[in-house]
């Protein structure tokens, strides 16, 4: 059952060193505030799972929290590279980074399989791609009915799933609107889930088919206003595209990243 708590309490209670953690949000509703709190609490050896690592995992990798990265597209959308991730892969800085690389279809299917309680996902994928040569989690099976060769990957079942959402009601039921990505799948597939929200309201006013997570599917709820910035929260604030552009210069250089980390995360306190 959902318990309201502070961000610091939720991360302290929910995220342990060595955990596998999926922080999702497909361009939209990326839980940046929660990511920064993980950095402040100096969590170590995490396996981070995310379709599009984006700036949030660039920051966590640069801060030295990450052992393994599971992903399917690792860039700064519309801008260029994730320089901290690249520095870790190419130069082992600040530490070596293992990668487990997939396609979007594979990860989306794997999250769905996790939510569905299956051990693996089956889909028509990876045909002719060399990703299966470098990722032993990609296998192929033969359909027992049609003999078609199909791809399969293990279900994603993270220790911790973290998402941001627009709002929760006072009971802790959560409403997600706009680009919903894999938000529902992450919460349902994770052993422990943390949801940060823009605000708490008396009534959700959700349409019958809205994307709603009942309070009993969520462990911790945290009010984190602006918690998805520099990504966006549909109906609340827009994507800060300039921040994404500026990140290129900040992250390119180890020293400027280190300064950013000090002033914007470590000394910023949090909510």
């Amino acid at each position: 059952m959902a318990t309201f708590m502070s961000l610091a309490q939720a991360i302290e209670a929910g995220v342990k060193n060595g955990n596998s953690v999926a922080m999702e949000g497909f361009t939209h509703l990326i839980p940046f505030a929660a990511g920064h709190e993980i950095i402040r609490q100096k969590k170590q050896n995490l396996t981070l799972i995310r379709m599009t690592p984006d700036l949030i995992y660039d920051q966590l990798v640069g801060a030295g929290c990450v052992k393994t990265l599971v992903f399917s597209w690792g860039g700064n959308p519309g801008v260029g590279s994730l320089h901290r991730v690249r520095d870790a892969i190419q130069n082992g800085f600040p530490k070596d980074l293992e990668t487990v690389e997939h396609s979007h279809a594979a990860m989306a299917n794997a999250y769905e399989a996790g939510a569905a309680g299956l051990p693996m996902a089956v889909f028509r994928g990876y045909i002719g791609s060399e990703l299966s040569d470098v990722n032993d989690q990609i296998k192929f099976i033969t359909c027992p009915f049609t003999s078609e060769k199909l791809a399969c990957v293990p279900a994603i079942k993270p220790d911790v799933g973290i998402i941001h959402a627009q709002k929760a009601d006072r009971q802790g039921n959560v409403l997600i609107e706009g680009i919903i990505g894999v938000q529902k799948e992450v919460v349902l597939s994770a052993k422990h889930s943390i949801v940060t929200v823009e605000e708490v309201v008396d009534k959700l006013d959700a349409h019958p088919n809205s994307c709603v997570l009942p309070a009993w599917t969520v462990d911790s709820i945290v009010v984190a206003k602006g918690g998805a910035h520099p990504s966006y929260a549909h109906g609340y604030y827009m994507r800060d595209n300039q921040y994404y552009k500026n990140w290129d210069a900040i992250s390119r250089d180890r020293e400027s990243f280190s300064q950013w980390l000090q002033s914007e995360v470590l000394q910023a306190g949090g909510q």
Partner: protein, 272 residues
């Protein structure tokens, strides 16, 4: 016909012309997105544009910076989850054209967006080796590996240079026709694959039998030598080589307006 246009504008407008109103197009970010929206704003007003963020039948007024900008969702007919997008809509066979960009492309239209390798060892060269020793780590596959096989056909748009057009890609992220040109043989559930590659110099299409990309149309004022110099393999030309039609004044105006509007909107966001 206009005469005062850049080679990039020529590429975008040519790419736009490859699309038509009756198509459902799964759009990659960047050049494909620009071309698809120019098509929608010119000759293909009823084209259905789908982005992997889940937005179906979207009609953005400005170009998105990312694949999931709010503009895409707000202007869409509906927005579905990402698993639904890849399972029902793409894998389910509802996409006519996948429109992709790339970092590297080879003569069998295989795409590499994973790694640029350190060593080019011609004999021992394979994807695995390149992956273990990247000189440049690229973003990765994203939606492309399955767009390329589950869409009925694929268009690719990318600028022409020897850095991009290589004889063999360092890593096959997304299959065109495979390293031997035969990857799609005897696979009835898989789409036609790349049927057109549109660059700032020319249009290439796969040879019907060998699947090797050959030049079928040169853009106005582009010579064969320019294409030969910008291609990393011995490029072949079709027996009957066309000249691509230059952009019209209206097409250029719409493209330039779209880009100006996009820039202005992004700058306004910065001022907030």
């Amino acid at each position: 016909m206009a005469t005062n246009y850049t080679s990039t504008e020529m590429m975008t407008i040519t790419a736009a012309r490859s699309l038509s109103s009756h198509m459902t197009c799964f759009v990659g970010i960047g050049l494909p997105s620009e071309a698809a929206n120019v098509a929608r704003m010119t000759h293909a007003p009823d084209i259905t544009l789908i982005y992997e963020s889940g937005t179906i039948q979207t009609q953005p007024k400005i170009l998105p910076l990312s694949i999931g900008d709010g503009e895409l969702c707000e202007s869409a007919l509906t927005t579905v989850s990402v698993p639904e997008m890849f399972r029902y809509w793409l894998q389910g066979g509802h996409v006519d054209v996948g429109f992709l960009g790339t970092a590297q492309i080879d003569k069998y239209a295989n795409l590499n967006t994973t790694v640029i390798a350190t060593k080019y060892d011609k004999n021992g060269k394979n994807g695995k080796q390149s992956y273990a020793h990247p000189r440049v780590r690229l973003p990765g596959g994203g939606g492309a590996p399955e767009i390329s096989t589950n869409a009925k056909e694929v268009f690719i748009t990318v600028k022409h240079s020897t850095r991009t057009f290589v004889e063999e890609v360092d890593f096959v992220t997304t299959v065109g026709f495979g390293r031997d040109g035969k990857a799609r043989d005897n696979l009835p559930q898989v789409g036609l694959g790349p049927t057109a590659v549109i660059t700032d110099l020319c249009i290439l299409k796969p040879h019907p039998q060998t699947k090797e990309l050959i030049v079928v149309s040169l853009h106005p004022c582009v010579s064969r030598d320019q294409v030969i110099e910008a291609t990393g393999w011995q490029i072949k030309f079709a027996d009957t080589l066309s000249t691509t039609k230059a952009p019209s004044d209206i097409e250029l105006e719409i493209l330039r307006d779209l880009k100006a509007r996009t820039e202005k909107a992004h700058n306004q966001q910065e001022d907030q």
